[in-house]
């Protein structure tokens, strides 16, 4: 059994290490520090932690002000509230002036589970991706998360980091090199390219195993940076395999699937299917049940792969 760690836990731990190395790092939260895991930073560096209360709009614009005087603020809350409630603050006070704010949003996607649809963000990638100058990271595991947090602190400008609530398998070793904007080929293949992000990367690897047993060779591309998208890697994968399936724990509208479709339709159109939440809101249930309910399993990816392969000329 592979070790499972939630990306929010990896975030909280890396934030403490980052805080030790860089005194300019400050953290803001909106009364969810125990859930977003910023409370470890608070315990270690209380002077540099600001609990803004349940007031996300003010939190984002306050983070902008902190960045304007040279701090590197990480602002955390659930993805629904970060990108929904505080959208216009992110747009006008953070992205428009290209301020150095990092938005680390947890509880993204349906694996929030029992709290239900009001708390399950399935549109945050779409919203954040539309903002000029915003970098969007969706780490697949704990190792990628830690690296993404480090990279975010190095980048001069706004960064959105999408994190999850539930444990996910650790895919990468200690030697993993995270390069922002560079997708990682986790498995070579020739018949179909499975292009995945976040928690769906592990699921795509599982699907590739299933397909291999049927004699289908699936390439698996881990897109940890949705923006800027690694256009070269996406087009290369499509060229090599001639068919593509995207997989994300997000709406099929505006997320990874859209980004890949936009890229391929301009550069190298191939048969394609998008695995994701199909234009609906989430609901209560256990994370595993919800992944099944919304069609976000290895079985669904493998089925989509067979379909796109059949469409190849």
């Amino acid at each position: 059994m592979t070790k499972k760690i939630a990306t929010r836990d990896a975030y909280g731990q890396e934030l403490v290490r980052l805080g030790a190395d860089n005194k300019d790092v400050v953290v803001l939260d909106a009364d969810l520090s125990k859930s977003t895991k910023t409370h470890d930073f608070m315990k270690n560096y209380p002077d540099r932690f600001f609990n803004m209360g349940i007031a996300e709009s003010n939190m984002m614009a306050t983070a902008a002000g902190l960045a304007a005087v040279g701090k590197i603020p990480f602002a955390s809350t659930f993805a629904v509230f970060a990108t929904g409630r505080a959208f216009e603050q992110i747009r006008n006070s953070i992205c428009y002036p290209r301020l150095n704010v990092k938005i680390a949003a947890t509880h993204a996607g349906v694996t929030v589970g029992e709290d239900g649809g009001s708390h399950q963000s399935v549109e945050d990638i779409a919203i954040m991706r539309a903002l000029p100058g915003m970098t969007v990271f969706v780490p697949a595991d704990a190792v990628e998360t830690a690296a993404a947090i480090r990279a975010a602190a190095e980048i001069k400008g706004p960064v959105y980091i999408r994190l999850g609530r539930s444990g996910v398998p650790v895919l990468h070793g200690e030697d993993f090199k995270f390069i922002p904007g560079e997708a990682v080929t986790l498995r070579e293949g020739t018949d179909v390219a499975l292009i995945a992000t976040g928690i769906m990367v592990a699921v795509a690897l599982e699907a590739a195993e299933t397909l291999a047993a049927e004699g289908i060779s699936a390439l698996v591309l881990d897109v940890h940076t949705i923006k800027p998208l690694d256009i070269f890697a996406v087009v290369e994968a499509a060229r090599k395999c001639g068919a593509v399936v995207t997989a994300e724990e997000h709406s099929i509208i505006g997320g990874l699937g859209s980004a890949v479709a936009e890229t391929l339709s301009e550069h190298h159109p191939v048969p394609m299917q998008r695995i994701g939440v199909r234009d609906t809101f989430g609901e209560s249930g256990k994370p595993e049940e919800l992944l099944q309910h919304f069609g976000l399993t290895a079985t669904h990816i493998a089925e989509a792969a067979r379909k796109v392969i059949a469409k190849k000329k």
Partner: protein
């Protein structure tokens, strides 16, 4: 003191002349709320704030956030008067390629500390600046001044920021509320009454000072009191007249967002001579 007041009155008059000239040239923009804030801005830029126009990013400087970003002309006029950029550049306001955007853009124009224009967000940014500066500077930290509109405080985020600033006891933050009682759709107390303002801010743990926002002596004294106030942020509620200084614009809601025509520019400049 009288000399200082006369100097600041003259700077305010120069700022008002710039406002009229640049808006006339631009053909659009917001004269009313720019003119109402001219005396406050004159005091801040020519007396209160530690600034270095030669070195606009000097870390030791005080910060000014124009939360009511549509009053950009009053800020641009003060920056030009202060020497941040040539006064001729004021005539590029709102034109393609200009550093003087319709609402202030910190990435384009040195001296602009925060990009504003979407109401209700500037006070939060000023709070963030004050918190950040206090982390580094402690007791002697640089000060942050935020200019708010009265209609602007209808935004809920203002009260989120007010609550947080009181909570964190951010005493290097001073807000100044330009209380001209007019917004686009009419008098503020008709559109959405914001009174009683002093009680509201006091309830959010702010030190409150009420003044006539066109009396330079009162503005100077209020700022001094704000600087001396420890353990809480200060708000100066400044009663003002929208369009102040130009007879036909004063207290006229129609001059919130309309630029003067050439003959009106001429008349206004005559009054401000």
């Amino acid at each position: 003191m009288d000399q200082k007041i006369a100097f600041l009155q003259e700077r305010a008059r120069a700022i008002r002349r710039h406002i009229i000239t640049m808006l006339g040239e631009a053909g659009s923009g917001h004269p009313g709320g720019s003119l109402s804030a001219a005396d406050i801005v004159s005091v801040l830029f020519f007396d209160t704030m530690k600034l270095d126009p030669e070195n606009p990013h000097w870390p030791g400087r005080d910060r000014f956030v124009l939360s009511k970003g549509h009053a950009a002309p009053v800020l641009y006029a003060a920056l030009a008067e202060k020497g941040y950029f040539p006064q001729e550049e004021l005539l590029t306001l709102r034109k393609l390629g200009s550093r003087l955007q319709g609402h202030p853009d910190m990435k384009k124009l040195p001296g602009v500390e925060m990009s504003t224009g979407s109401l209700g967000q500037g006070l939060s940014a000023a709070l963030g600046m004050a918190l950040g500066l206090r982390l580094d500077g402690g007791e002697g930290a640089q000060r942050v001044y935020a200019l708010l509109g009265d209609g602007e405080v209808q935004e809920g985020q203002i009260w989120e920021a007010a609550m947080a600033a009181g909570h964190f006891k951010v005493d290097n933050l001073t807000a100044i509320l330009d209380y001209n009682n007019l917004q686009i759709d009419g008098p503020v107390d008709v559109v959405m009454n914001v009174a009683p303002l002093a009680d509201k801010w006091r309830a959010f743990n702010w030190h409150v000072i009420e003044i006539d926002g066109h009396d330079i002596g009162q503005i100077l004294k209020a700022i001094e009191e704000a600087q001396a106030t420890k353990g809480k942020p200060t708000i100066i509620i400044a009663r003002t007249i929208k369009g102040k200084g130009v007879s036909f614009m004063e207290n006229q809601v129609g001059w919130h967002g309309n630029a003067p025509k050439p003959e009106q520019v001429e008349q206004a400049l005559k009054e401000l001579a």
